[in-house]
Symmetry: C2
Subunit: 186 residues, 2 copies
DNA sequence: TCCTTAAACTAAGCTTATTAGTCATAACAT
DNA sequence: ATGTTATGACTAATAAGCTTAGTTTAAGGA
């Protein structure tokens, strides 16, 4: 029927991810992305609804990778051991994807079902640990929110350069993780 | 010597703040700000170096107001009582300034001395509580980072709509504050 | 071969940020 | 009073970004 597209969804997300990683979030534009794909800017509108859509799709792909990283970290461990690994994997992912990480927090401009589904899925290892430690439904939710808040707050402030004092940031993180682990005893 | 400016720094920041609060961060542009000030767009460059500079200055003003709110909350209280008030004042400020709050986290695009000074000043009530509770130098820094991480992480995720489940967000916050307060006993 | 269909293209609009260069004016020194 | 001058406001213009409209092209099926 139609001619084969030179732009596939995978290639689009890959190139957009590469631009953000290499040059920063602000350098992802319709123009730079079209160039990277070897196509003129308006042609992108055959594949996405706009630049916000591209960012959303990159965010979805990134939060999926984050979930994979957390799952890998928790694999084969349990309890405090697993939670410790999850915390450190979370921070490591943010550090290695400093420009992409902000896209994982939430879908800007209102709900997006696909993003939300993938974001929820990324939290499975965390909920698995809590469930295995005997946390009931609602309590698991509150505790997971606390842990996510601490982790996201820490890494986003760290990436933003909000920790200005000379004290070791690694040590601060270790101390915070220790505190998070103690939640499992309660 | 020169003629009196129709655009003062105060008015500029006030109007920019009003636009962000009323219409959202994305609506703050050189054009909308110039209109609000009754001036043509290029005239703004006699007062600021660009739109990023405007955002930075609004952020500085906002983080100062945040510090005032925290100071007011802690006034006349001490220990757990003061920290409880600080936590709730922090969240309330973010909720009442949802569009402005992201500007308080850090100066984008590298250090800005003025912003950093005001941001540091905003943390004084927190450090005061910790000092009064006997926290030593480095330990106070690590603990303050933990508390800031939890608070910032929670409110930024809440504002971003990252807590999708039906469980009460207020209850999650209360539980988190309870844990934060328990830090003072350690 | 010809038609359908989707994806590419060109052209063009509008918005935003910014720079260059000009003009107006109010405060100050004389 | 008057002229100087610094400053801020203006017009004009450019470049970049996002998007829409409308046209062309090419591959696969009839």
């Amino acid at each position: 029927m139609p001619r084969p597209p030179s732009v596939t969804e995978d290639r689009l997300i890959d190139e957009a991810t590469a631009i953000i990683t290499r040059d920063g979030l602000r350098e992802l534009t319709v123009g730079t992305l079209a160039d990277a794909l070897g196509v003129k800017a308006p042609s992108l509108y055959n594949h996405v609804s706009g630049i916000d859509d591209v960012r959303l799709q990159v965010g979805t792909a990134t939060v999926t990778r984050l979930g994979d990283a957390l799952t890998d970290a928790a694999m084969g461990r349990s309890g405090e051991d697993a939670l410790y690994a999850i915390c450190h994997a979370y921070r490591l992912f943010a550090q290695r994807n400093r420009e992409l990480y902000p896209l994982t927090v939430a879908s800007p401009a209102g709900r997006d079902d696909t993003f939300d589904r993938h974001a929820w899925r990324a939290l499975r290892p965390l909920y698995a640990v809590l469930a295995a430690c005997g946390f009931e439904e609602a309590d698991a939710v509150h505790t997971a929110r606390l842990i996510r808040s601490s982790l996201h707050g820490f890494v986003s402030m760290e990436l933003a350069g909000a920790f200005g004092l000379p004290e070791s940031v690694d040590e601060s993180f270790d101390q915070m993780v220790g505190w998070v682990l103690s939640l499992l005893d309660a």
